[in-house]
Symmetry: C2
Subunit: 332 residues, 2 copies
Amino acid sequence: MRLAAFRRTDDPGGTRRVGLVVGDGSGWWLHPFEDGTDLVELLAADPAAREEAADDAARGDGLRPDDVVLLPPVQPVSMRDFLTFEAHVDGMERGHGNPGTPAQWYDAPVFLFMAPHAVTGPYDAVPMPPDTERLDFELEIAAIVCRDVRNVTPEQARGAIGGYCVMNDWSARDVQGKEMSLKLGPSKGKDFATTIGPWVVTADELDGCRDSDGFLDLKMTVKVNDEPVGTDRSGNMGWSFEQLVSHASRASWVKAGEVLASGTCASGSLAESWGRNGKLVPPPLQVGDVVEMTIERLGTIRNVVGPLEESVAAVAPARRRSTVGGRLEASA
Amino acid sequence: MRLAAFRRTDDPGGTRRVGLVVGDGSGWWLHPFEDGTDLVELLAADPAAREEAADDAARGDGLRPDDVVLLPPVQPVSMRDFLTFEAHVDGMERGHGNPGTPAQWYDAPVFLFMAPHAVTGPYDAVPMPPDTERLDFELEIAAIVCRDVRNVTPEQARGAIGGYCVMNDWSARDVQGKEMSLKLGPSKGKDFATTIGPWVVTADELDGCRDSDGFLDLKMTVKVNDEPVGTDRSGNMGWSFEQLVSHASRASWVKAGEVLASGTCASGSLAESWGRNGKLVPPPLQVGDVVEMTIERLGTIRNVVGPLEESVAAVAPARRRSTVGGRLEASA
């Protein structure tokens, strides 16, 4: 089952609604669920109850793509973005002159928390953020958690994953590079936009798309201005989503409405090519470029880079404190 | 005004309520606000309306410390933790054999997003997390945002900060060290607990505590088992909280209910001493240790390190993918 969040085109300040997606490709349309339906609750519902709600919805009138604006299918209560594609890590490291994937990568799946309020809809324009001449995309697959869990095994985690969608983790590489030198990871380099969508495909729909180890194995592709620039398969993740949820839940809450993403797949970003090519080829994204990402069975998100966002001025450099004998002393 | 979140001691599954704190030190008590009162909304309210609500509350019966369990004053919709104390950065860098604060640090305040569901109450026990032999604390001051803002100047940001509290950003240094080698910052090293409290002191109460540049200047201290181990002043931050909100809001939403923290003050963690001393002195926290943090005007949080949390097993190492000619290839 495919579940979308939308507002009606003729209702700009419109209410967030949930709809059942039917049809294929550009031929899709939406059947709204009852007012007040919550997408994450639908994911957590008993499958029979969800089917019944969907049957009810399907009896109503459908809305065509022009009738609706698709919204991010979830307003995440939190987002964790992992680093699970070995070949991406390998490429990025080689780009920095290092010998490839660090041994440490294999031990456990690291992640960072992401800006939960930066999610944008599957066809929204993404304004050019300030301070960057190296805007990039990251092709990822994301899981939507539908139950609160803590200390669950991968087997138990399976029931907490309600569905999956496509994700573009937009990245300002020059901003992020400076920030990461201070060891806390990227901050402004990634907090301006993360696109998720076009809708959530429920986990039960994808049972036939698992490999012999139980990993979801879906083809992922990204185009810029209709030119293919990257492709990989989700089966190349180093850990399954069930393992990611289990790891995240170790002595920590993973909550319903949380989004856990795979991290960038191999060739799923320009930066990896910049590293391999030793120059900015393909070029960084410019205003007007269209980035289109498709994952088999999950659908397509497509976003144009909009004009530079008019932003508040950058803050002043740090106020310096007293230095005593070459070493800073707290003046308490 | 001091605003606390609490449940009644005699109501273990109890409703979250908001109370006005009166009295001092161990002599404090609470006057509950009307049922359904939201702490962040109170922070955002017109001061006169907030005073009126407080006057109404104060007419009711008070609850003594034994009658209540204080909860985290806010369930953050998101948390950003900055790195604003130059002397802390200097100490940590020297501990890693580096020459001190990197030039990059002065340019702009970096931050990381934190686990919003890991917040714990001001007097809660914090279970020992798995996998660590180097549990540490971090003494920080935190601001509570009460209005949604985007692209605001520091001057405009001031009205979006509802109040302040004490924060302990618990850290498993050995776990975090391994994770940070992969450049995304810490993940499991910090997602198990962050203590905030004991209550929120409204920003207007602290107008007299600003230095000539407008920085909040409050004495911060931390004790372990009643022994003082660190002290600093919030006036040693490199940026004011208004600047932090402005920076965070640059081309990004900062939402009501978000928590922005200063990062660790100088001598506000054991790791800084370990770096300076070249050995684990003072020793890492052990089960039974009590960490007490006090910030002038904001109050005291005090937490015992509880027994090791029984956790799910660690996930298996990464599944390795095919390597072609010494370089990994996506098999798409």
